[in-house]
């Protein structure tokens, strides 16, 4: 199978979904710069200049703006080049977007907003550029929290978000962006809440997400050399969480 980098898989999913659905638009700080969010939005920006556009620093209101656009049938993708800025969006995200379907009894339609949050950990990024608030967000009903660890998952989970009908946050670890892996060419969404068994094992199970999946594989290989058989499960989304796979 073809090999792509993680960032290329995100880019391909975005382009494929935008070709299939005119309602998708991508915004966020610097999404249409030549650097295109570490290369993940540059192809979409070139193909769809009217639908990929920069956004001022306004994470608070923009989460609500995304909701209002989605309520009118658009599919906004909002990119946070640093996940730490998401805290500014929590009101409109958690009080409005996540509760939308429940608190209007399903009568106000759907607001399928997609938030891509890049975890910046590494290279001295420091206290306010290194966080990953995924555990916090996973507490809120109405939100899907995806943690793609591989290029194939980055593509498939983003496609699910862009074809689904409710709010999704994807945490993309910056350190994964240049990792390579096999990725199918077809537009195939990966369903939320379905874990991937990364490695079979009988003595111990490690549940890991995002960057830590690779770390867990390294640990499992080390333990294998000492006669310990380790199973690794990547839940892929932590809300919904595939408890059946983990507890099996």
């Amino acid at each position: 199978m073809r090999v792509l980098k993680y960032k290329e898989a995100i880019s391909e999913a975005t382009v494929q979904a935008m070709k299939a659905d005119d309602s998708i638009f991508v915004t966020g700080h610097a999404v249409d710069y030549p650097s295109g969010i570490f290369g993940s939005t540059s192809a979409a920006a070139e193909l769809f200049p009217d639908r990929v556009f920069d956004c001022p620093s306004m994470e608070n209101a923009f989460a609500g703006i995304a909701v209002g656009a989605a309520a009118m049938g658009r599919r906004p993708v909002f990119v946070y080049p640093r996940a730490d800025f998401m805290f500014l969006s929590f009101d409109n995200l958690l009080n409005l977007a996540c509760k939308w379907r429940y608190m209007y009894g399903g009568n106000a339609g759907h607001v399928p907003i997609v938030l891509r949050a890049i975890v910046g950990k590494g290279w001295g990024q420091g206290a306010t550029h290194s966080q990953s608030p995924h555990a916090t967000l996973a507490h809120f009903p109405g939100l899907t929290v995806a943690m793609p660890a591989s290029p194939a998952d980055a593509k498939g989970l983003l496609l699910s978000a862009l074809t689904g009908d409710h709010p999704v946050v994807l945490f993309e670890h910056r350190a994964l962006y240049d990792r390579e892996g096999e990725v199918g060419e077809a537009m195939e969404p990966i369903p939320f809440g379905k874990a991937r068994i990364v490695r079979e094992g009988s003595d111990l199970t490690i549940v890991a997400t995002s960057l830590m999946v690779g770390e867990a594989v390294t640990a499992a290989e080390e333990l294998a050399s000492r006669g310990v058989s380790v199973e690794i499960i990547d839940p892929r989304t932590i809300r919904p969480l595939d408890e059946a796979a983990i507890l099996a």
Partner: protein, 335 residues
């Protein structure tokens, strides 16, 4: 309707149909709120409710200038806008009673109303959300090349939120067809404007510094609001850039609940202040304008009011008799 003359959108006394239509809407909103407030005291509506009595002219005047395909968002004091945009008293009452037939199937309560069929998208209790969401709907209209308008109703306290400035900056930058309607009633819960914003604060002047067209209107005069809203709508349809309409008005009842503040011995505002604003009642003002224009006589207006009140009471009783949501559906729309 006569063609718009200077100032844009003014209703002339000769336009009797408009005067009576607006008055009918004012009566419907006013008497729905009064009847719901009275019923609220029986403790069968278990939802914090912010009644909009006294502020009806803003909602009625603005919504009269909008098309059904235009959309509106509102805040915690949302009944006036829900009704004026075309929502029914029956579905509002059912929502307050927590019934399955409520506009949000009894899950939302007073501050979370919706009726997409008439373009009332949503109300929300958190300050700034209505403004953000309306700005987003305007962005959707801009992206789709649609000639629709998104409207946000909110109070003066929203000008203290960060989202307020983000929305103004963004809508001005992107030239979005959004109508911001600020109902300046001088209070945020029980805090007067004087302790919340700098002395001499002028919200519209602040907004104008973003390059946004601003209009001020007497929020207790439905004809003044309609004229201002028509001017705003004309600008929005032709220029496509945001308009900020600030309407001075006043709520008669307590911040949340069905009583007058003086009935509960609250002292943050005087009974005289409330009485002074009641003398500027928007419904009475509309009635006087009709009589002066000779559009209807006293007896006709009395009959009109009686009909509206009877229909409202029938709607409330019908809603009260409706079924509760099925407990099996408690987790509907949660995932």
């Amino acid at each position: 309707m006569p063609p718009d003359t200077q100032p844009t959108g003014t209703v002339t006394p000769e336009d009797h149909d408009t005067l009576l239509r607006l008055h009918g809407e004012l009566l419907r909103v006013r008497h729905a709120e009064l009847a719901l407030a009275e019923r609220y005291k029986q403790q069968e509506m278990r939802t914090p409710t912010h009644f909009g009595v006294g502020q009806e002219a803003v909602a009625v005047g603005v919504c009269a200038a909008l098309e059904k395909t235009d959309v509106a968002y509102s805040h915690h004091r949302s009944h006036n806008h829900f009704l004026a945009k075309g929502g029914s008293v029956y579905r509002l009452a059912a929502e307050l009673f927590g019934r399955e037939t409520g506009c949000s199937r009894g899950r939302g309560g007073s501050v979370h109303l919706t009726d997409l069929s008439c373009g009332f998208v949503a109300s929300s209790a958190i300050l700034g959300e209505a403004m953000s969401a309306a700005t987003g709907s305007a962005l959707a209209f801009r992206l789709g090349g649609e000639k629709r308008i998104a409207t946000a109703f909110f109070g003066d306290a929203v000008a203290e939120e960060g989202a307020f400035y983000e929305c103004l900056s963004y809508s001005a930058l992107k030239k979005l067809p959004v109508l911001y309607v600020c109902e300046n009633n001088g209070y945020a819960t029980e805090s007067p404007l004087s302790i919340r914003q700098p002395e001499g604060a002028d919200i519209s002047a602040r907004v104008a510094s973003f390059g946004i067209k601003t209009i001020k209107a007497d929020g207790n005069d439905v004809l003044a609001v309609l004229a201002a809203a028509r001017e705003a709508v004309a600008h929005l349809r032709t220029e496509g850039t945001p308009v900020f309409l600030e309407c001075a008005t006043y709520r008669w009842l307590e911040h949340v609940g069905p009583f007058f503040d003086h009935e509960l011995n609250r002292t943050y505002r005087t009974e005289e202040e409330v009485t002074g604003w009641q003398e500027k009642c928007p419904v009475a003002k509309s009635r006087a304008a009709i009589l002066e224009a000779g559009a209807a006589d006293e007896a006709t207006l009395d009959a009109m009011q009686a009909d509206v009140q009877a229909a409202i009471l029938a709607d409330i009783e019908k809603a009260y008799g409706d079924p509760w949501p099925d407990p099996q559906q408690l987790f509907d729309n949660i995932y």
